[in-house]
Symmetry: C2
Subunit: 341 residues, 2 copies
DNA sequence: ACAGCGATGGGTAACGTTACCCATTTCTTG
DNA sequence: CAAGAAATGGGTAACGTTACCCATCGCTGT
């Protein structure tokens, strides 16, 4: 590691026999540079292999960086979102950097601060646990988009899918098949303030509401674990212990549904013969033939792309607040069928 | 977005009635500050909610940032690595930022440059496609650790698992069960220069070598797709078209194995009755009871933690080059058994 | 009492880039 | 052809932090 000094704008200027100001103008496509000078400077840039120093730029304004807060990296649905975002940002000069938030509120705050300290030009927060007031505070500092929360705000843009509709699709589907004893796997609440805004709350509340609407209020059974394979497994074992045994499980996320399938199988029961299982997110695993999990598709790629577009618009100066909502669709597969008997 | 000016070191200095130098000393725990002054300054920092401006620090040296290059985000094995890394870095003042490399060499180069431009203090490159010479060039600029490549270098530290041993475990296992017609699913090469260094090459070559050693050179059948569900699915359909039909498939990664399971199932065949399937990485999905995929465990958490430790050591000044290799173990499950007949 | 030392605090010049100016030169237009 | 406008180029002061220096003070030991 022979810390060789980086090529700077001054080196380029010297090499092209112009001022540093001139080089800066060319870099920024700013007014006041003749075509001839542009060519000279660009040639010098290529010859010396100059690359702008992001930190120095940050001192004076733009960093050309979009920061993403990701709760964790295991959920493949987030990968879809990132794909959409990357596609949107790829053609611009902006670069996406990701910071993992971890499971708790404290880690998440640290992650957001890290992004703010690094002066990103815009921040996309995916399903953040942070309180609304704190989100507003972040959005006061820099352009922000929040994905997956159902609050209205004038400070940031919001992208979400209609979780209420999506969850109702699943529950209605199961009830339509003839199920009555339907369990639900939800996620433990780690957020601060009222729960209502996050997907897991909405899906759970919708489950409860639809069950009641069909006169199945007494059959409501919720296991609150986490939306991971382990969480789904543990939650399902908990639900299976009930008597009389339920005939269907609506896991709030595919990841949890996979764990549910494992637990059902381990208990010597068959899917969908004994128990139907449905998930949410329509991940690629769900589509595989030997799993064939009924799920809800919410097009993460479009959500990510839209979030990117909104963020870039804000960076360019828009201040009016926008909300974009995706309408989910049910994707029935072989993991759900009429109940036994 | 009311771009409120950030609190700076000067604000803190004024508030505490000391010089900016003094504040800087306190922040860095540098020599030349009395306990009394330290307390005053710290109080001012808390009161004003001061946070150091990373870009300004970058101009003068440290950014307290560790950059990670990730090929893509879908492989859950990478999540284990990140967990290990995060755990190692969490107690320090450093922050991990991730940049996704994308599938191609060009995107990867852009991603690495983005990290270099942002002056990260150290960089962890996970299974990079870049040529060895370019890796060395990066490592000349900043402390670097490369994970998952099997080259020796004096410029950077290396962390890997012994892919050759791991792959041989699987193939020997299948042969030991009585299989002869064993197929393999590999990944298309996107790197530059000689292939030998990346896991997919080594696993494939090992498969070929072990087959030959057992006199099964004529039975070698490789489908080269990608290590994703789709890749495994397509590759398996390709392999299943052969006649006589093979009795086992060694997918180079669990993700591909899941796709393989789907394809086998779709073809009306059973696992392991008709065909045995094995993967690599021992992801959580593989452990689930209804999948029970035979796989190879390579402890990504330890790999990530070690990579973090090595990187921090290098940031602190170590220059001697280190290699750390994990020994993988076979995890036999129900997806592999003796061949039919 | 005094040289010499450690402890304490601050002044200042960078780091690389850009926004805002001003000084030329060249082009229009009546 | 004069006068104003447009085009072209450069000088310079920040942005927030830190490394390196110097100045002062109170003690110590002789």
């Amino acid at each position: 590691m022979v810390t060789r000094r980086r090529v700077t704008i001054a080196d380029v200027a010297r090499h092209a026999q112009v001022s540093t100001t001139a080089v800066s103008k060319v870099l920024r496509n700013a007014y006041g540079a003749s075509p001839a000078m542009r060519d000279r400077v660009r040639a010098a840039i290529d010859e010396l292999g100059y690359r702008p120093h992001a930190a120095a730029r940050a001192m004076r304004g733009r960093t050309f960086t979009i920061g993403v807060l990701l709760p964790h990296i295991r959920n493949p649905f987030f990968a879809d979102i990132l794909d959409g975002l990357s596609a949107q940002v790829a053609e611009t000069d902006y670069q996406v950097i990701i910071v993992a938030g971890g499971a708790g509120l404290k880690e998440e705050v640290r992650a957001i601060e890290a992004l703010v300290d690094r002066q990103v030009d815009g921040i996309l927060m995916i399903a953040p646990l942070t309180s609304r007031a704190d989100l507003d505070k972040v959005a006061e500092t820099m352009p922000a988009v929040v994905l997956g929360r159902h609050e209205k705000s004038t400070a940031y843009d919001a992208v979400d899918d209609d979780d209420e509709y999506g969850a109702s699709l699943v529950v209605e589907h199961l009830i339509g098949l003839g199920h009555r004893r339907i369990g639900h796997i939800s996620q433990k609440d780690a957020s601060r303030g009222r729960r209502a805004a996050l997907p897991y709350s909405i899906r759970e509340e919708t489950y409860t509401r639809v069950m009641r609407e069909h006169g199945l209020g007494d059959e409501i059974a919720v296991a609150t674990t986490s939306w991971t394979e382990e969480g789904g497994y543990i939650g399902t074992r908990e639900l299976l212990a009930r008597s009389p045994r339920l005939t269907a499980i609506f896991a709030g996320a595919d990841q949890a549904a996979f764990g549910a399938l494992a637990a059902v199988h381990e208990a010597g029961l068959s899917v969908p013969g004994d128990i139907s299982v449905a998930g949410y997110d329509n991940t690629r695993m769900a589509a595989l033939d030997h799993i064939a999990l009924t799920s809800v598709d919410q097009d993460g790629v479009v959500m990510g792309r839209t979030a990117g577009r909104l963020l870039l618009e804000r960076v360019e100066g828009r201040t009016a607040s926008v909300r974009f909502s995706v309408t989910p669709t049910l994707v029935p597969r072989r993991s759900t069928a009429a109940p036994p008997g």
